[in-house]
């Protein structure tokens, strides 16, 4: 029976696609994927026939692997290696932890292994993480967030976009450093997006304090601050707080935004680069773009909205007027 997928399976997908498929399988079946991630996954599967072939191979391999582990539990694989080494290790770890805790209590002495934790996403990947009780973050695609302190009170956004939800239980508040801007919050929902020329901070509940050098400005719920990196200036505007974090549903809503911003948001969500090229649309964009997740469709939709044409380039897409 020569079926279509047999033909395709004859060409093993590239290592990069296999790797991506393995990452999806890990996230969906060994992690806690949210509905949005499943939707992103089905989009990825539809993206190219090799994606589905790769995912099927990984799924079958994984299922054989799981079957094996279930049939030959602990003693054959785990216990003989685990028993002699794990227990002393566990004791050592507990002792070390005890030491660290007591040292940390001494004033002025920092725990030596208080290493920053790096949270990151690949292209077009969404990730929701519960950092602590009442502190949730959602990472947009191509995002890198560093949790600088163990008590989760300090973060640095290296790149990308993060939605922070800080509940009332988290009374100690958090600090987020973005370039040379610092955001201090106490119990709010706010979104931070770092672009190359500007940072955007929007607040839907509570308030945050922004500080840049000596200057301090408070952003209230319903306000969006756009920080111009070169000029070091901040422009505050109103936005609809209900629209915060809509990018988690692939919905881009703007009351007034630069085209660079729109393209940055779209490329983050779709995982492809979109270059403005020679296209010169009106300076501001107002409206809503509902992305489907298929780069081809979405990019041409955005090009239409801006009155441009889109062409593929070696890096992704480039617009022309």
């Amino acid at each position: 029976m020569a079926s279509k997928d047999t033909d395709m399976a004859n060409q093993r997908p590239s290592d990069a696609i296999m790797k991506r498929a393995a990452e999806w399988r890990a996230k969906l079946h060994a992690g806690e994927a949210l509905a949005g991630e499943w939707a992103a996954f089905t989009d990825w599967m539809d993206g190219a026939p090799e994606h589905a072939v790769a995912y099927d191979i990984v799924s079958e391999n994984e299922s054989a692997f799981v079957d094996y582990l279930e049939q030959y539990p602990e003693e054959t694989v785990e216990e003989e290696v685990t028993k002699p080494r794990w227990q002393p290790w566990a004791i050592a770890a507990s002792v070390a932890l005890l030491l660290i805790t007591s040292v940390a209590l001494l004033p002025g002495v920092l725990p030596s292994n208080d290493e920053p934790v790096r949270l990151a996403t690949g292209s077009a990947e969404l990730r929701q993480i519960e950092i602590a009780s009442d502190l949730n973050v959602t990472l947009n695609g191509e995002t890198e967030l560093v949790q600088a302190s163990r008590d989760a009170s300090e973060f640095e956004l290296i790149d990308g976009e993060v939605l922070f939800a800080v509940g009332p239980e988290y009374s100690s508040g958090i600090r987020v450093v973005v370039g040379d801007l610092t955001i201090v919050d106490r119990g709010t929902v706010f979104n931070v997006s770092k672009g190359s020329s500007e940072y955007r901070i929007s607040v839907s509940e509570g308030a945050v304090e922004l500080s840049h050098g000596e200057q301090v400005i408070t952003l209230q719920a319903g306000q969006i601050g756009t920080f111009d990196v070169k000029a070091g200036s901040l422009e505050v505007a109103r936005f609809d707080p209900a629209t915060i974090g809509r990018w988690t549903e692939r919905r881009l809503e703007y009351t007034r935004a630069s085209i660079d911003q729109v393209l940055l948001d779209a490329s983050r969500s779709l995982g492809v680069s979109i270059d403005k090229g020679s296209c010169s649309p009106p300076a501001d964009f107002v409206g809503t773009i509902q992305l489907s997740g298929s780069a081809d469709e979405d990019v041409s939709l955005i090009a239409d909205l801006l009155g441009c044409t889109a062409q593929t380039s070696p890096d992704g897409w480039v617009f022309a007027s």
């Binding site: 990452e23 509905a35 694989v77």
Partner: protein, 148 residues
Amino acid sequence: MRGETDEVEDRFHDTWIKLGRIEPSGPIRDPLPYIYKVADNVVLDARKMRQRREKRDEAYGETTSQQNSESGERSIDANVELREVETALEDLSERTLMVFRKARIEGYTQKEIAAELEISVSGVEKHLLKAYARIAELRTRQTEDLPS
């Protein structure tokens, strides 16, 4: 998503039935990911069944003994050789294997595993990605094994 239209319809039906049969161990907090997961498993099961059937049909003509009757879902997929799985297991560190087992087989959340092993959640993820990267490498000869 995967397969022909009528197959999609069949799988949809299977998923529906399976959802009705499964008795989850607790309340399902978020039903949509749960349904997705069941559907994904149904597609994989159907695929494995079909491959077994095709393999059996082939073997029948060659009067080979029935090597893979449907002796339950737990039987190891004959497409992946045992030795391959064993080699992969040897390649993985005990920690990685432990994390995989807890996450995938024992059903612990990443947060629970992180707390138990006293590592960060992203550390747990790293172990899982390592395990899955090795799993993806299994059966590089798989394409030749498929019936044509």
